[in-house]
């Protein structure tokens, strides 16, 4: 994968579609990879590449919706554009609900598709950034000891009772020990205040995307 080259994945069981789209998008400078089935895509995808996924809605075997659900579960940084020959309101609603960025009915103009792909790629990039951040946060939180995590939870859960004395009473330890832990936590999480901590935790717990 070349940096700066926007990646586009195509999954469609129709050979002609794959060929024409690959050619068209390739002309426009996209790095295109086409797959004949959902399973073939899953086998090839690394799970981390931020990209736009042009996905056929109705396919034999695992269909587009199923593939999307699977990818969502993995937290993949992909922005899904559904293309369908079966287009209909119910299908599009379902797809959008499941997190698709767009829904195109076949046939469509290339310009439209390119437009949507560009928008989708921005989303995919954002998704990837968020994913990286979260990973970083997770790494940082991963440094905390069990006791420190306990104290963080307490502080986040009860922002009104965050004095070391109160926490110490609740956990059955001395306020001094609590003060010591708090210092360690801020150091490990690379933050300076309680406000930052609450923000971090909320980011970490927020759903992906």
């Amino acid at each position: 994968m070349t940096d700066g080259t926007p990646a586009v994945f195509i999954v469609d069981d129709d050979q002609d579609i794959r060929t024409s789209l690959t050619r068209a998008l390739g002309q426009r400078g996209f790095e295109v990879s086409a797959y004949a089935s959902a399973q073939a895509f899953l086998d090839a995808y690394d799970g981390e590449t931020a990209a736009c996924l042009v996905l056929d809605y109705g396919m034999p075997g695992m269909n587009g919706l199923e593939l999307q659900a699977r990818l969502n579960a993995n937290g993949s940084p992909l922005a899904v554009i559904f293309i369908t020959g079966h287009g209909g309101v119910p299908e599009s609603v379902q797809a959008m609900r499941a997190g698709a960025v767009d829904f195109l009915e076949k046939p469509f103009r290339q310009s439209t598709l390119v437009e949507r792909i560009k928008a989708a790629q921005q989303i995919a990039a954002d998704k990837q950034a968020a994913l990286v951040r979260r990973r970083d946060l997770a790494t940082r939180f991963g440094r905390l000891t069990a006791r420190e995590e306990e104290i963080v939870e307490r502080m986040v859960a009860n922002p009104a009772e965050v004095s070391s004395k109160e926490i110490g009473n609740a956990l059955g330890i001395s306020p001094r020990t609590v003060d010591h832990h708090r210092a360690r936590i801020l150091e490990k999480l690379e933050i300076r205040s309680l406000v930052e901590l609450v923000d971090l935790v909320s980011k970490l717990k927020a759903p992906a995307g």
């Binding site: 002609d16 579609i17 068209a24 020959g85 469509f108």
Partner: protein, 779 residues
Amino acid sequence: MRTSLGALLVIGLAGLQFIAVLAVVFSSYVTSERALLDHARELLSDVGTNTIAHSRGFVAPAQSAAELSARLARDRVIASDVPELMEQLFFQQLQLAPQFAGVYYGSEEGDFVYVMRSKGSGPFRTKIIRHQGGVRTTELIWRDDKFNVIARWMDPDDVYEPRQRPWYIRAKDQMTTIWTDPYIFFSSQQPGITLASPVIDRQETGLEGVRGIVGVDIEISDISDFLANLRIGSTGRALIIHANGDVIAHPDKSLLKEQTADGTLHFVDIAHIDDPIARAAFAQLEADGQVPVEQETLSQFNYNGETYVSVVMPPMSDKLPWTIAAYAPESDFTAAIKQNRLTNIWIAGAVAVLTAIAGLALANYIHKPVRAFAVRSALVAQGELDPSDPLPATYEELEKANETLMQQIAARRETEMEYGSTFALSSRGMAQIDAQTGRFLRVNEKFSEITGYSATELSQMPFTLLGHPKDPPVLLFDNDQRGTPREVNHEMRCLRRDGEAFWALVNAILIFNQEGKPLHIVLTMDDITSAKQTEEQLAELSKDLSNLARDNTMGQVAAGLAHELNQPLTAIAQNADSALFAAQQMGGAGHGLHETLDEIAEQALRAGEIIRALRAFIRRDEGCRSDFDLSELVSQTQRLLSAESRAAGVSVIADLGALPAVHANRLQIAQVLVNLMRNAIEAVAEGDDLDRRVIVEAKVDGNEVHVCVSDTGPGVAEGITLFAEFETTKAAGMGLGLSICRSICLANGGRLWHQPREPHGAMFCFTLQVGGMEATQAA
């Protein structure tokens, strides 16, 4: 005909006895009558015989006396010239025979000696006529019983000439002893007869001459005395009639004589005798010329209202042509017997009445326990008396009969109770209907429940009233019962009491009695309304399904076409755009190329628009989703396909358990089920495995219900692309079935997939959304 024991006993004991007594009385009555007549006849016959004997004994001595005298005179032992000797002989003869009135001898010379009984100076008188020297003298001598002379004198006035008398002339003419007809004696004026016997003088010349005639007068009034003394019954009489009709002897002697105009006396004719009964009895004898009759004749006659019996005897002898006739009133013989008979009848009647009463009493006594038994049996039969109550004293035979009867009654009651409880507790409506009137005789509770009418209301109405008024009336059995089936089954629409219509399955059986006459109808009724509704629902579903299948097929064809066409159209549009892009990149190309490529892409898009419009047109009312019971739908589908599964020998098993309501288009899901199940059945039918099953299962998984249709068929062969449109393994099929099913499932928010089944067979599963979700979300 059945006879009453009581009547039999009365007839047997009283009636027969009465008849027996009557028969005996009657027979004795008849036989005694005969015996009486015989008795009377014998009695009269005896009288006749006695009279004949008496009469013969009366006249026979006269003959011997006369003939003796004649012989003496012939042998000249006595001669007229010595009249004293002759007188002595005659005197003795008179003394010996009291019936002799007189004995006399007249000679050819005119001499005459006559000794007779007298009522004058002495008991006997002698008259002697002599001729001496031409001088005729007549001397009369009266003597006593000792022959002493009492008086004697000469009678110069006597002119009697014996040779002129009829007896003399007849005896001399006939030269033998003759009897005169009875006549009234001149001297005594008593009836009598004269016997004259000639004294034959054999001369030397050989010529026979008459020397004189000896005569004897016999008074026959003694015979009348004898008759008067005879007892014939109490008032019967006997008389003697001469052959010429003269009555010569009669108990009443005064009736015999009759004086003629010249002053002479002669006998009265039987036709004129002053004895009316005798006249009535015997006058016709003379008229018929049958006096005397040839043989003893017994006859009967009525006189003055009284019945008489009479007998006429044959004549005594040739010389005495007399006949004895006797009569007597029958009552003389029969009165006592008749009286006796009457008494007997009275006694018999009394005996008959008494025995009849005794017979009635006895019959009553014998019949009483039987009657009591009959009354008791009737009470038991009506249920007013318990069979276990002690039996009153009765006969041994009846006791056994009672035991049997009570057992029968108990058994019958038990049967009736069983039948009754079967009838009453039956889960089906049951009724008993009069075969003639069609009215309800008896119904059970279930029947009332089904029809809504109470048993009392039903008992007032005929069966036909139950039928729906808009339907033709249902006749259970024809009025003409011949040849009709004895059992019928009807499916009929009925009206409940509240006016609600319901469908009933009616089974009616006609019961006949032993004579073959229709007795009643036993009717069983089931309410099949809900079954009928289910059937209708099923039919409706089937109809909707076929409509839907058609619509869906068209839709799917359109959808399939759209998809198939959209792919190349997409490729065309992309390629046109790509070419356009390339031309722009190269630049400078003719303007026409840009427009043309753009036009191509636009037209491809337009074609897509047309297809979309077509699809939208066919795809209507797909959004009609609601909550429904999947189990019910599966069971209806199962039934819908039951004919096919039976024909294929496949058993369809639905194993659904408790499921929540699902939210989908019920009709579309029905089509999915029909398609999957039909495919499964056909798959199993193709295989030859012994295990021929199609299983429908369902389970809840979160917000979804998983429905799986599996079969034990050969399974899906390798290389077959399932769910592809226009691809099929079936000889007749468009290959749209599974494709449509998948579309439907998707449209209803579910999925459809296939997985192989172990060890063989296929399994198709689809998901449905659990119902009630939208409501939850709305809240």
